[in-house]
Amino acid sequence: MSTLKVPIGPEDHVQGGDDADCTLVEYGDYECPHCGYAYPIVKRLQRHLGKRLRFVFRNFPLSQMHPHAEAAAETADFAAAKGKFWEMHDLLFENQSRLSLALFEKLAQQLGLSSAELLEALNRKVYEARVRADFTGGVRSGVNGTPTFFINGQRHNGPFEYEDLLAAIESAGG
């Protein structure tokens, strides 16, 4: 049984409170079509469960296969430093089919962030180590592809349709 090896910490991107009944962690890649598929499913779970669910997103870019995945992850972390992680996270998944540097700049502007500053952060790889730390922690926790979900620290194996995840969350006490 694979378990989450890196506990939720201050570095994490979290929606929901510590007092939630259930914590759902996703290791995802902004360019992975399966993660794109899971994106509205997670939103629906959050709407349905409300405060009972805490959601954490961690980066797992398969960058050799997905040429924009690493830059997308770093773009989201750039936005996080400005308090706009979830806004950027949502925009990246909603525009998954047309990820590009030009799009990242546009999305930054859309969120009122400086695209020049974003480009510099990407060029200087300011957020690379942070993305890599997510990735490495995922590997050590048994993440073998994307998306991989952990429910209260236990890896969720098998399908991730809404019903599957909801049932797993409910049986975990959520």
Binding site: H34, L62, S63, Q64, M65, V139, G142, N144, G145
Partner: protein, 157 residues
């Protein structure tokens, strides 16, 4: 599932084609740990493909000076096309002729299907297997077991 070779066993020696005109022998890698990843076939259709994952995890393996070798019964030209398509940065070896001979030596061959098991071995710098794991054929075993095994090896200088 096959009962694959277990820790403590001397890793069977082999020399397999790594490109159309180049062979690689296990003994050439003595002195550093080696990860042998037997897998059923190139061109697995999924995103979270095992070899694609290892390609990303390569820097973690390199921290232990470990060399990763992928091994299947696919031919060299097939491996070459697959490696190019997936941008793989580690060698794929062809256990092609006699088919599956190396996988058999590691007891990681599926006679009924004519392919390798999804079997992992960590071999230490002296050529001894220190960890092995055979995954159900359809399940990507990930890299956590390999990294745990590498971490347990005595520190090298």
């Amino acid at each position: 599932m096959a009962a694959i070779l277990t820790p403590g066993t001397l890793a069977p020696e082999f020399s397999l084609s790594v490109t159309p005109d180049q062979k690689l022998a296990l003994r050439e890698l003595r002195g550093n740990p080696v990860i042998l990843a037997f897998y059923p076939a190139d061109w697995s259709p999924v995103c979270g493909d095992q070899m694609a994952l290892y390609n990303e995890v390569l820097p973690e393996f390199q921290k232990f000076h470990a060399e990763l070798l992928g091994i299947s019964v696919d031919g060299v030209w097939c491996h070459e096309a697959f490696a190019q398509n997936r941008k793989l940065r580690f060698p794929l070896l062809s256990d092609f002729e006699p088919k599956g001979a190396v996988a058999r030596a590691y007891k990681a061959y599926r006679e009924e299907d004519g392919i390798c098991e999804r079997a992992l071995f960590v071999v230490d710098k002296d050529g001894v297997i220190t960890w092995s794991y055979c995954s159900p054929i359809a399940v990507n075993p990930g890299a956590d077991g390999i990294l745990d095994a590498l971490e347990r090896l005595p520190k090298q200088e």
